[in-house]
Amino acid sequence: MEQILRNRRAIVLLVGPALLVYSGVVLLPIVWSLVYTFFEGNVIGGFHFVGLQNYRQLLSDAAFWQALVFTLKYAVTVTAGQILLGLLLALLYVFYLRRASALVRTLVFFPVVLPTVAVAQLFAKIFAIAPQYGLVNAGLALLHLDGWIQAWLGQGSTAFWVLALMDIWRAMGFYAVLLYAGLVEIPAELIEAARVDGASGLRLVWHVILPLLLPILLSALIFSINGTLKVFDSILALTGGGPGQATTPLTLYMFNTAFSYGQYGYGSTLAMALAVLSLIVTIMIFGSARRDVA
C-alpha cells in the first residue's frame, strides 16, 4: 500500500501539470510584475531600468492619491453595507423565516451570479436621465419631486452612491447566506441559556450571537473588503471611472496607465500598491480581531 501511495513518478504526473500551468500563469507573473516596477516602457517600445523612479512617482502622483482615497472610501462603504445588510438578512432568515427561508435565501442570493456588465447596464437604465428618464427619475417625476431629478451617474457624488448601491445589491444575499450558515451552527442550547438568563432582542444579538459569530464574520469581512478594494467590472461598466476621474479606483487607474498610456512599469507599481494595500487591510482585520478576542 505504502508503495502505491508513495510512487514518485505518479505524484509528479498527477500534480506536475497543474503546478506547471499555475506557476506559468500566476506565480511567474507575480514575480515578473515586481521586476517591472523597476522598469519603464512597454512591449512595443522595449524596457529600460529606472530604479526606484516609479515608486517616487507614485508618492507625488495626485491621480494615484485620488484613486486611493476613492478606493478606500468605496471599499469601506460597500463592505459596511454588504456585511451589515447581510447580517440583518441572516438574522431575518434564522429568527423570523426559519425553515421557510430557503426560497427567500435563494432569491436574495441570485444577483451574485449575474454578469456584472449586464447588471451595470440595467442600473444605467434605472438611473438614466437622457435620452429619457430612467425608473428613478421617472418615479421622482411622478411624485412631483422634480427638484430631486438629476443626472445620477453624471456627477461624482451621486455616481458614488449608485455604484455602492449596485454592489451592495449584488452581494448582500451572498453574505447573508455566508453568515446564515454561521448562525445555524450556533448551538440552540447556548441561545436558550442566554434567554433564560434574561438576554433578549438586541442584547442577545450583541452580547451572545455576534461574539459567537465572530470567526465567520471576520472571514466575510476579509472577503468583502478584498473584493471591494479590487472593484473593477462594476465601475468600468457603469461609469467608466467618470465623470472625469471622480469614480476611478486604483484598478481602473492601473488599467488605463498600462494599456491607454503604455506605461507598464508604473502600471505594475500601481498593481503592487493595490496588492500591498489588500494585504495590509487583511492583516489589520486579523490583528484587531485577535486583540478583541483576547
Binding site: 435620452p131 466575510a220 473593477f232
Partner: protein, 314 residues
Amino acid sequence: MMRSDVAARSSRPAPAPVFTRVARWSPRSRSQRQPRRRRLSWLWRLPVRLLLLLLLTIEIYPLIWLLLSSFKEDAEFSLRPLWALPAGLHWQNYVEAWTTGNIGLYFLNSVLTVFPALALILALSVPAGFALEVMRWRGRNLVLLLFLAGIMVPLQILLLPLFTIYFHLDLIDTRWALIITYTGFGLPLTVFLMAGYFKAIPRELLEAAILDGAGLVQLFLRVAVPLVSNGLVTVALVQFFFLWNDLLFSLTFISNDQLRTIQTGLLNFTGQYGQVAWGPTFAAVSLAVFPTLLLYLLLNQRVIKGLTAGALKG
C-alpha cells in the same frame, strides 16, 4: 468578550423583551409558544412582512422590468410610463441584438473559451487534488500552500506580464490567450477545493481498495473520482460563473470584435447603438442575464454552497 455577560445577566432582573420573536430561537421551541404571544405576534409580524415585501421587490423587480422592457418598441419608452407593460411582444429587439448586435457571436465566443478552460481546469486539478490529499510525499503541504497563495492575488498583478508573454507568443487576440489564463487562474481555488473533497473520503475505503489489489490508476479513476463527483460538479459550477462573468482578462487580451466574449461585447453594446435604442439593449442584457439565471434556478443550492465554500476557503 462574552465571558461575563451571560453570567452577569443571571443576577439581574430580566429586562423586558425587546423582540419577542427573536427570543424564540429554534423551531423546537415552537411548542412552548404561549397564546398571549400569538396575539402579539400578528402586530409584530406586519412590519417584518412589509420589510420582506420591500426586500423581494428590490431584488426581483429590476429583472422583471428588464424582461418587460426588452419587449417594448422604442417609441414606448418615451410615450408611455417606464413601468407600463409592453404593448406587444416586440421580438424584433432580440433579433436585432442577436444578429446586428453580434450577441450571438459573443455568446459563441464565450462558450468556446469558457468550456475548454473549464475542461482543462478539471483535468488538471482533480489529479492534483488527489496527489495532494491521498498520496504521501514530502512537500505536500508546501505545494498546497503555494496553490492557496494564488487565491487572493489581485488579477491586476498578472495582467502586464501575461500580456507580454502572449504578445511574444503571438497569442494576443486569440482564444488561446483566454483559455490559458482562465485555466491558470481557476486552478488554485479548484485544486484547493478538490483536495478538500478527497480529504473527506474515509481513508479505510481507499486502503481496502488497495488491499483488494487496485492499482493507482484504478484507485484514482474507479474509487476516488466517483466518490468526489458531487464536489466536482460544484466546483465546475463555481468556476463556470467566475469565467463566464470575466471582464478584465477578455478586455485585456482581446481587441478583435469577432472574438469578443459576451461581457466585453455587452460592454460595448451601448456604444454601437448610442443610448437611443433601449429596446435592443434591454434584449441584449436579457440574453446575457437569463441563461445564467436559469442555470442558477435549476441548481441553486449547489451554486450557493459552492460559492460560499470558495469564500470561506479564500
